[in-house]
Symmetry: C2
Subunit: 253 residues, 2 copies
């Protein structure tokens, strides 16, 4: 694979997973040395990240990882609603019934995925990714797909920002099931509206984990216990900390 592409995917992954938090400086020489490539392919990678909005120019000419405030999340969901409702509408128009009926069934069984095992919910999120991919394919709209692909990186970053509790995930699974059912029924209006419903609920959940730092009520870990939030993650109260760049990965010196 080309060096520029390899570095692009690696940096993108680090940004999405918050290993490179907002505000982290993306110095060309430093990153080039870190990934064992020259500045030329690295610049290309940074250019793509910048075009995607994952990196922005800082104070000087320095490129930094873009911020992600609560306001940014709101604005991001405004775009997301536009794109995903349209994708759902087109998928409902053109999609294959069996595909989405099967996905709906798997979402109906999704609570089985949310047991104590798999604390990262990898199986659940893989299922969500499958639905996204199926919608993209069914929509069959290249320009829309391109925009959605760029959007997904930001969405994934938000996912890591917010705390997902099992209760929310169960509700989300049902929202996804409704979307899949509507698409399978070729019901364009319902598919779009079900998508909008899901996005609004998702946004409300994300914002609730951001605005209420002490511990707003709602639901606990598994039962209705008003337990504490924000357990495993490195905690991001102001969301935009200056950020430490982290040391080199597993490359040779």
């Amino acid at each position: 694979m080309r060096a520029s592409e390899r570095v692009y995917h690696a940096l993108r992954e680090e940004i999405v997973t918050w290993h490179l938090p907002p505000g982290a400086e993306l110095s060309e020489v430093e990153q080039a040395a870190r990934w064992g490539v020259s500045r030329t392919p690295l610049r290309e990678a940074l250019g793509r990240l910048s075009a995607e909005g994952l990196a922005v120019v800082g104070k000087g000419r320095t490129l930094v990882v873009s911020a992600l405030s609560a306001e940014d999340v709101r604005h991001l969901f405004e775009l997301r609603e536009a794109l995903e409702t349209q994708a759902a509408r087109l998928a409902a128009r053109r999609g294959d019934v069996a595909t989405f009926r099967a996905l709906a069934a798997r979402f109906a069984a999704a609570p089985d995925l949310l047991g104590p095992a798999d604390p990262e919910r990898l199986a659940y999120y893989a299922l969500v990714a499958e639905l996204d991919a199926a919608v993209d394919d069914a929509a069959a709209s290249p320009y829309l797909r391109r925009s959605l692909t760029a959007l997904r990186a930001h969405v994934a970053r938000v996912r890591r920002l917010a705390q997902d509790n099992p209760d929310r995930l169960r509700r989300a699974a049902d929202e996804h099931r409704l979307i899949a059912e509507a698409v399978a029924d070729h019901d364009e209006v319902l598919a779009a509206q079900a998508t909008a419903v899901h996005l609004r609920a998702s946004l409300a959940h994300v914002l609730s984990t951001l605005d209420g730092p002490p511990g707003t009520p709602s639901a606990g870990p598994s039962a209705t216990t008003p337990g504490t939030r924000r357990a495993t993650r490195p905690a991001a109260p102001p969301v935009t900390q200056p950020a430490t760049p982290l040391d080199t990965p597993g490359d040779r010196p």
Copy 2:
């Protein structure tokens, strides 16, 4: 200004204006020589064009100007509908009444701009651009704005592809007026729907100038005369011709 940015804007303009038609090869060395810069900034420019979808990889690793078939136009408008209806909705929610009332009035008077003078309709299209900018500002949604900005290049390219007759432009002006009125009224639903109406009408017009090469009926140049279509433009029947790269611009040897 930076060389890479200058070349990027120049190439983008050439692509949008069909001076570089679909299929035209964007050889690095050739274009670098043509614009009097090195390959490094030129590669950055090509990277941005590629990220925008204005350039795609051809058969080898050669980059060519992206095609724009009737099917592409349909797909483009699927994205456009998603983005612009949302922008209109948000603008209606947040926009300033006076601004859009004034724009509506100017669109009401738009037929005055469509006289025999100004055959390129620069004044009219400038007004449309003003409305677009006002909607973008009022929507105040950075992620959405970014996507819209990228989209506009493709839309501008389509505009040059289609033949705009005064009759269609008068109708379009009224559609724009309705959008501006709805935004001024803070009517989100109507603003989005008026935008959708305009886009569907616009798409239908564009496709009518593509699918019916001989001369479908509808309306003539100014009256109801069933005149001939396709007058001034270089004529693009298969839309995707191999394209001649055109000679160098006004740069020193």
